[in-house]
């Protein structure tokens, strides 16, 4: 596969140390309709070293997505600091690639134009755009679909368009918010393998939000468990030492995998129980009032 020298092959960002991501006592509140504040994050301390893959797991509503949005610069912290490569995040960060839960492709643009969007917005010369789009569509297995619209693709294909759209900009930090939630089990395994091939090369810093603890362990270098919201904090932090490159099915059969999974699940389980316990208590209380 011949690539013109102007086009960097996937994942090679020469001579740069991937940026560290640091959250230092980060607080985030949202206004409530009654005029009060809903505290989502109450003092998050998280350090993700450059080039590592960090998964964030936690019960629904604990603010996982909010952490990613803070790092991307899509929202501001109400307290503490968010640092990328030592610099405070003050605006949407162009070094960041963000894969959303919904594959937010522009429905009125073809596959080609969706993938090209980031480069065009950055004013990349036309010839180079064409070449790089061509390259990335081949990487994600969608060569020949250039002129299709998102509505004509399956969920998995749209997800791959979104991946190409993100990676073509060669982000040094990649944020992923439950990117595979809506895919079926087989498509999911394929996407996870692609993810390892394309993203995990020690040259990018990755924050990955998921509900699935096993997925987190199989993919990551570090798994962080958050406490239940409101006012979430980091509850546990676990290094995952499986050697890379990893075979996803093989890793899941490793005896160490079961131990890790059990240990982290105990932590997560208590937090999830808190969410449900609270809901149950509220239900009992309202029954008594009746």
């Amino acid at each position: 596969m011949a690539i013109a020298p102007a086009v960097a092959p996937p994942g090679v960002l020469p001579g740069k140390h991937p940026p560290d991501v640091v959250l230092d006592q980060v607080v985030k509140r949202f206004p409530r309709p009654d005029g009060g504040d809903y505290v989502v994050l109450a003092g998050i301390d998280l350090r993700v070293d450059g080039g590592t893959f960090c998964s964030i797991v936690g019960p629904s509503g604990c603010g996982k997505t909010t952490i990613l949005r803070l790092v991307a610069g899509l929202t501001r912290a109400d307290g503490g600091r968010v640092l990328v490569a030592g610099q405070a995040v003050t605006r949407v960060n162009p070094r960041v690639g963000f894969l959303f839960q919904q594959d937010a492709l522009l429905p009125w643009r073809t596959v080609h134009d969706n993938v090209a969007l980031g480069l065009r917005l950055r004013g990349t010369p036309k010839d180079e755009v064409k070449e790089r789009v061509h390259h990335w569509l081949r990487v994600v297995g969608l060569a020949g679909f250039e002129r299709h619209y998102p509505a004509q693709l399956s969920g998995g294909m749209r997800k791959r368009v979104a991946i190409a759209q993100t990676l073509i900009c060669e982000p040094e930090i990649i944020l992923m918010d439950e990117p595979f939630t809506h895919l079926d089990a087989q498509a999911r395994l394929f996407m996870e393998e692609d993810l390892l091939d394309l993203f995990v090369d020690g040259k990018r810093t990755i924050l990955f939000v998921t509900h699935d603890l096993d997925e987190a362990i199989a993919l990551s270098d570090v798994v962080v468990v958050m406490s239940a919201g409101p006012a979430s904090t980091i509850r546990a932090r676990q290094r995952i030492e499986f050697r890379r490159p990893r075979d996803l099915l093989g890793v899941r059969r490793d005896p160490g995998f079961g131990e890790l999974s059990a240990a982290l699940w105990r932590q997560l389980h208590e937090e999830v129980a808190r969410v449900y316990g609270r809901a149950a208590r509220d239900r009992v209380r309202s029954d008594q009032q009746v």
Partner: protein, 269 residues
């Protein structure tokens, strides 16, 4: 996979080009039977030609208008008024809708006012506009504008408010500026709403122009209607009605051609 999608796509576009499918034939047959029945009843005296005319008499009446060339000045007058009204309504409705969607205090004033206008028959403004602007074309343009404007305002206004915020953030994250967001997300989203409102507003613009002419004017299809009515010329009356329908349908056809081209992505969803 690619081939399958490609053939599916070809199949849908072929469908649209095939005019002689089952329903089309049935529709044509029903229309033909009705017309023949009408013509026959008129000939044998079952229906009164004076009040109900007959298909051939109607064709004759309208054919005579075209043969003498008298119709063109009326046709052009109405078309010009309706299209000017529509164009101005598009510009003003889109502009006000855009500004109101981005300015809450203004929206708080404008939205209820236009909501009220939207729920009353705006055609009642006709006599007032004619009093203000005279019996010439400007009062008809104003009435067509007034009818269409409110609908276009709401199309743009609600279209902008319902823009998918995930797409906005997508463009920002990919390095886009505010201007890029307007260009790549807001404008295309609103186009969807404007196109769907155009089906209604084209009709409204013609209603405005024709009713305006009907109230007071010296030319236009509305004037011709009013003239035919006062001279008890049923054939001409019905002929003009058919002509108006034909003109509006022709405009719809042009519109759907444009829409199919601009909104190609939409047809696939």
């Amino acid at each position: 996979m690619g081939e399958r999608l490609a053939t599916e796509f070809a199949a849908t576009s072929k469908c649209r080009k095939r005019p002689l499918d089952g329903p089309t034939i049935i529709r044509a047959a029903v229309v033909a039977v009705c017309l023949l029945g009408w013509e026959a009843s008129a000939r044998v005296g079952l229906v009164d030609k004076f009040f109900f005319s007959s298909p051939l008499l109607i064709v004759g009446a309208i054919g005579q208008q075209f043969a003498s060339g008298a119709i063109y000045k009326h046709l052009i007058a109405t078309l010009t008024e309706a299209l000017w009204g529509l164009l101005l309504a598009l510009l003003a409705g889109a502009a006000l809708g855009w500004v109101a969607a981005r300015n809450r205090p203004l929206a708080a004033v404008v939205e209820p006012a236009l909501m009220l206008l939207n729920s009353v028959p705006r055609i009642v403004a006709g006599p007032i506009l004619i009093m203000w602007l005279g019996i010439g074309p400007p009062s008809k343009v104003a009435l067509a504008f007034f009818l269409a404007f409110v609908v276009i305002f709401f199309a743009v206004y609600s279209g902008l408010r319902e823009v998918d915020q995930a797409l906005v953030e997508r463009v920002l994250v990919l390095g886009g500026t505010e201007r890029d967001v307007l260009l790549h997300v807001y404008a295309p989203s609103v186009m969807v709403w404007v196109f769907s409102s155009l089906r209604v507003t084209v009709g409204l613009a013609f209603t405005g122009a024709i009713v305006g002419e009907f109230i007071a004017s010296s030319q236009g299809l509305g004037y011709l209607l009013s003239f035919a009515q006062s001279s008890y010329n049923a054939s001409l009356l019905m002929g003009v009605v058919c002509l108006i329908m034909a003109v509006v349908m022709l405009l719809f056809l042009v519109l759907s051609r444009i829409e199919a081209r601009v909104m190609r992505w939409k047809a696939l969803t």
